[in-house]
């Protein structure tokens, strides 16, 4: 039976639906203590002294530690996993990031001390008694302001707050194209700062076994092996063999749980100090001020076109906010996951992008669903729409005219990537038809009759997923390889355990990966167990992010299964007294070609473990491991169309229709893929209409620090989504898959914003910044109405 391509219901659902999931905060270790982290209330201050004496004497308190305690113990700083070089060849500024701040605090929420007590209430109460003497200093939160002369400095040894000044592309070719352009379109835009907000707050439990010297960390991570490597090797100096990291059920990540966070190191280190397990769970307000944020770009973009409206060149200048410290993968987001995507779906022959990354007194910024690709797509699809408007060409037609044609693959872009496959024209037509694009003007007129401003907006996108070929990313500054591992352990009775380095925190790997295995080995789904999230069980793993699990992790499973089948063929050939070359494997049976003689997969498995009648030169057992290093990125693409109505009296937006047509390559479980798209769209629509992280420019205070202030998309903010797929296969991985996790968050912000601008175009609006809240829209409408009224 073939399960690939069918909507198999998820195997993990039973435990979640019955309240039997095991999230980190559900775990309690014997004799555990509770940690409360005291955080800076200031955006920027020097610590002139800390008095912890009273807290240490408070009821139930086992220990109080400060940054100086950790430094004195030789604890290292949180490392950065990617080094970007500036255009002059110099390496980025990489200031130290101590788990607990020792001398300076650099953002509201910067950890200053930890109190460890018998109960969390006791730890919190004792923390109130810690006296920290702060000498407040001026703060800067806006990335553009941070670059200006005289701006407050985040680090004394990083002049001008500049982390790096990076560029990509051929500036001379771009300048030449602009000089000969028939038309140049320019736009300034902001990509708003977001807070990822996985529903499960981060949590960590550290444990130390004095008898063996073994450390264990339970943590809410998307990649436990990466945490083991970073924390073990760089922060706490614990060899891998003595450090186990477990990421059990994890309640969403969206990027924010990739990184190695201070709290993981604090509880692990403290557990050894106090000789008892130490547990920390974030309150949501702590999540807002300590989870890595996303986006936060300020960009100027110019597009040059010829007389036939073909794109000649694109020039982009971006200031990217890094926050107060470099999070694990932060430097690569506004560079190699952004600048390299600026060809989009188009044949633009010359592209130049420069990115200045700056430090500010804000929470560190890193990858959030899409990571660089939503920022690239937003500016591209905005400038293309603006060009269509200025040239008087239909936005769909302008895109068609500039698409990379379906017969042009492999296609080398001017910004380093080689796309392997795609068919953007067909995907767009699919979306246009589903959205009844042709009938829109009638609907606009009908809406005007009801006093509503109706608009339609298109966004096409390309993303680079399946991250990533190790040698390529190594040459670009990655300090890690980005392969994936899988072990296929066939048990004597023929059931199979898959040990995967991918990590599921909602993606449904236990189902999708089982489908691959059941089909390939011809065994029931129930005979397959997917094991993930524990460094003590899994050989190795780089984890889940960048829509890589199936393309990279799944490919590793396929490779390991190939080895299983090859070894099984040898065993079967021996049992069947046939030549190995004559033995075929299909539907769970090894058969001698052209005969009815066969051995089942189960019989072969049993023989491997009970090798009484067995090939002389073959090892017993049926257990294979593979590491798969991708040959290229994968390139999912799509066309999203939003149709909206604005109530001009209130600024309220109703999403009347949202159509997404995507090319994810081969689809293993269409129901899970649709769910991924829905979730991505909700986050993209959230960015466009609701969500924005706001800091006070004067004080650096976080103004959106709870769900009272930060607008999360709710059920009645969102429409039903109309989805379709147009499949072109990835040419370089064994499954032909491309990845689907980030698509919605990439396409939706531009589709929604283009629709809003389309609705407001009659008022003379040419651009809107996100989030287009009712207040912002109402003000824009009022401003543009006044001159009309004055006439």
């Amino acid at each position: 039976m073939t399960t690939v391509g069918t909507p198999v219901r998820r195997r993990e659902d039973y435990r979640f639906l019955t309240g039997q999931g095991t999230y980190t905060d559900d775990i309690n270790r014997p004799h555990q203590l509770h940690a409360h982290i005291l955080r800076s209330p200031h955006a920027h201050a020097r610590i002139s002294g800390i008095d912890t004496a009273a807290a240490a004497q408070a009821p139930g308190v086992a220990a109080v530690f400060t940054g100086r305690d950790m430094t004195a113990a030789g604890v290292g700083g949180l490392p950065c996993g990617w080094q970007v070089h500036s255009k002059d060849g110099s390496p980025m500024a990489e200031p130290a990031h101590p788990p607990l701040a020792a001398d300076h605090v650099r953002h509201v929420g910067d950890p200053v001390a930890v109190v460890i007590a018998e109960t969390i209430e006791q730890a919190r109460e004792a923390a109130d008694q810690i006296q920290v003497d702060y000498v407040e200093e001026p703060a800067v939160v806006d990335p553009g302001e941070a670059l200006k002369p005289g701006a407050p400095q985040v680090f004394a040894d990083v002049p001008g707050n500049l982390c790096y000044d990076w560029s990509l592309g051929d500036l001379a070719a771009v300048d030449a194209a602009f000089a000969n352009a028939a038309r140049i379109v320019k736009l300034d835009l902001v990509n708003n700062r977001l807070v990822p907000n996985a529903m499960e707050p981060r949590a960590a439990i550290g444990e130390f076994d004095r008898a063996t010297g073994d450390y264990t960390l339970f943590t809410t991570s998307q990649n436990p092996h990466v945490i083991r490597l970073l924390m073990g090797a760089f922060v706490l100096h614990i060899p891998e063999a003595k450090l186990r990291v477990v990421a059990p059920d994890v309640g969403g990540g969206f990027g924010s749980k990739i990184y190695h966070y201070a709290e993981e190191a604090i509880v692990t280190w403290a557990a050894a100090k106090v000789r008892r397990p130490v547990k920390w769970t974030a309150e949501r307000s702590e999540s807002f001020m300590s989870d890595a944020h996303g986006r936060d770009h300020v960009t100027h973009v110019e597009l040059a076109l010829d007389a036939q409206a073909k794109f000649l060149a694109l020039k982009v200048s971006t200031i990217a906010n890094m926050g107060a410290y470099l999070s694990t993968f932060a430097p690569c987001i506004p560079t190699y996951l952004y600048g390299t995507l600026l060809a989009g779906t188009y044949t633009t022959p010359a592209i130049y992008v420069e990115t200045k990354a700056v430090f500010t007194h804000t929470v560190p910024v890193d990858a959030y669903r899409g990571a660089g690709r939503p920022e690239a797509t937003f500016l591209l699809e905005r400038i293309v729409d603006l060009a269509a408007d200025e040239l008087g060409i239909d936005p769909a037609e302008l895109r068609r005219r500039n698409f990379i044609p379906a017969d042009a693959y492999p296609y080398q872009t001017p910004v380093a990537l080689e796309y392997d496959s795609g068919d953007y024209g067909t995907t767009l037509e699919l979306a246009l038809k589903a959205a009844d694009y042709a009938g829109f003007e009638a609907r606009r007129r009908e809406a005007i009759g009801r006093g509503k401003l109706r608009g339609i907006g298109i966004a096409t996108y390309i993303e680079a997923c399946g991250i990533a070929p190790s040698a390529v990313v190594g040459s670009l500054g990655a300090r890690a390889g980005l392969y994936e591992s899988a072990a296929v352990r066939v048990h004597p009775s023929g059931s199979v355990s898959i040990l995967t380095g991918s990590h599921s925190h909602g993606q449904g790997h236990e189902t999708t990966f089982s489908q691959l295995v059941a089909d390939r080995l011809g065994i029931p789904l129930e005979s397959v167990e997917i094991v993930h999230g524990d460094t003590a069980k899994i050989p190795y793993g780089m984890g889940t992010y960048g829509s890589r699990s199936l393309a990279v992790g799944g490919s590793a499973i396929v490779k390991a299964m190939d080895k299983i089948v090859e070894k099984g063929r040898k065993i079967a050939a021996h049992l069947l007294e046939a030549a190995e070359a004559d033995v075929e494997f299909a539907d769970g049976k090894f058969s001698v070609a052209g005969t009815d003689r066969s051995k089942s997969f189960g019989e072969v498995a049993l023989t491997a473990y009970v090798p009484h009648n067995y090939p002389e030169d073959l090892e017993p057992g049926l257990d294979e491991t593979s590491f798969y290093d991708p040959k290229n990125f994968t390139f999912p693409s799509g066309a999203h169309i939003a149709e909206i109505e604005i109530d001009p009296e209130t600024g309220h937006v109703a999403i009347v229709n949202f159509t997404a047509s995507d090319d994810f390559g081969r689809i293993v479980n269409p129901m899970i893929v649709a769910g991924q798209v829905h979730g991505g769209l909700a986050q993209g629509i959230g960015q466009a209409l609701l969500e924005g992280c706001v800091y006070d420019n004067e004080t650096g205070q976080l103004l959106t620090g709870s769900y009272n202030d930060y607008a999360m998309p709710r059920a009645d903010d969102l429409p039903n989504f109309a989805l379709s797929t147009n499949v072109t296969l990835c040419t370089h991985n064994p499954l032909g898959v491309k990845g689907c996790g980030e698509a919605g968050a990439i396409g939706a912000p531009a589709a929604i914003t283009n629709a809003l601008v389309d609705a407001l175009r009659p008022l003379g609006v040419r651009h809107l910044d996100m989030p287009a809240t009712p207040e912002r829209l109402w003000r824009v409408i009022q401003q543009h109405r006044q001159p009309l009224a004055a006439d």
């Binding site: 019955t18 039997q20 209430e121 529903m199 707050p201 307000s285 993606q507 769910g675 829905h678 709710r714």
Partner: protein, 169 residues
């Protein structure tokens, strides 16, 4: 100050010694080990902690444990019958209405409350009722479908054909 609270949880009498400030959700999670009820925020907005108290849906982070004295509390752990899922749980599974699973217990408890008060809710009514439950994974699309299907089954009707084509294995 420690006090003893006695109540019924999922049909069984229980008692525990708690502080005056202990929240109902802490009683459930920390004292009774019922970790299916989750805490996703500190402002009573996310709805991951929804349980039923005397048949009414409440956010268990907004109630003190002592306020549950003598009450009957139902949590996600008590919804299925043995190994058999409740029709609403089954509908969530059929419609892929959960991904990471963290908001799911609260969503199911809220959905049951909605259907109790409105056995045949429209899509708009479902979306408006879910105002107090945040989900970051699903975009709510499949949750809305699941609640409609669960409600239909609870009314004794044959649910509409599954839009995903999913069927029990």
């Amino acid at each position: 100050m420690q006090k003893t609270v006695s109540l019924t949880v999922n049909g069984k009498p229980v008692s525990a010694t708690v502080e005056g400030r202990t929240l109902l959700v802490q009683l459930l999670r920390e004292h009774l080990g019922l970790t299916g009820t989750h805490v996703g925020c500190d402002t009573s907005q996310c709805g991951a902690c929804v349980v039923h108290v005397d048949g009414e849906a409440v956010k268990s982070c907004t109630l003190l444990a002592l306020q549950a004295e003598g009450r009957s509390v139902a949590t996600i752990e008590g919804v299925a019958t043995g190994d058999t899922l409740h029709p609403m749980q089954e509908a969530f599974r059929n419609n892929h209405a959960l991904q990471c699973g963290f908001c799911t217990p609260g969503m199911v408890m809220s959905a049951l409350d909605l259907v109790k008060n409105n056995p045949n809710p429209t899509e708009r009514e479902i979306r408006e009722y879910l105002e107090g439950n945040l989900c970051r994974c699903t975009g709510y699309h499949n949750i809305v479908l699941a609640i409609a299907e669960g409600a239909a089954v609870m009314r004794g009707e044959t649910p509409p054909a599954n839009v995903h084509g999913a069927a029990a294995e």
